[in-house]
Amino acid sequence: MSFLEAMLLALMLTLPFAIYRLVRGPSLPDRVVGLDLITSVAVALAALYALLSGQTAFLDVAIALALFAFLATLGLARYIEHRAHGGD
């Protein structure tokens, strides 16, 4: 196992912590934080795989995922605030 493969494996080991927070909660913003960390790790995994495989196209995957994560977090934050306001 090369060094980069070991790093890929170590990066995957961070996912259970984030999934624990996603499942456990207790509030909706806590779950959003867990989801945010999962997408951060996914961006890092895509970038690391671009190193490992020599396919630089995975960098585009990382960019698209980062964009998606930002929009998802903003949308969920808007939804949480809207819901707290009373839904008007």
């Binding site: 912590f17 960390l37 970038a47």
Partner: protein, 125 residues
């Protein structure tokens, strides 16, 4: 020689992402957890993207990696602020050990800061 720099950057990135993951699982309340993910998580992803830019040493790859890095550095604070504000307004409580909540009593029911409204009373009739 440069490969060692790549390895150190990747190791640092994975280390900081691991810190963020442990923080998100073990911190006592939402605001502490957001502290862990938005700072350590951003630094971890940023170091790994920097490693990609150093490893390939091509303009097209470096431009893509650095633009992704810039995008993440610019958007992570915005997303964290939006989420923290939404959680505060939704009534998520800080942990028991918190001894100072400077926003307490400053937000009205309409989600406007009282101090902002006092400065410009005509802008929010």
């Amino acid at each position: 020689m440069l490969l060692w720099l790549v390895y150190i950057l990747v190791l640092g990135g994975v280390f900081f992402l691991f810190i963020a993951a442990i923080g998100v699982a073990r911190m006592p309340d939402l605001y502490n957890r957001m502290h862990a993910t938005s700072k350590a998580g951003t630094l971890g992803v940023g170091l790994i993207l920097l490693a990609v830019a150093v490893f390939y040493q091509e303009l097209s790859v470096a431009a893509r990696a650095l633009s992704a890095l810039a995008f993440i550095i610019l958007t992570a604070p915005v997303a964290a602020h939006a989420l923290g504000r939404a959680a505060y307004l939704a009534g998520v409580k800080p942990c028991e050990e918190t001894y100072m909540d400077e926003l307490a009593g400053h937000y009205r029911a309409n989600h406007r800061l009282e101090s902002v409204e006092k400065k410009s009373p005509e802008s929010h009739p």
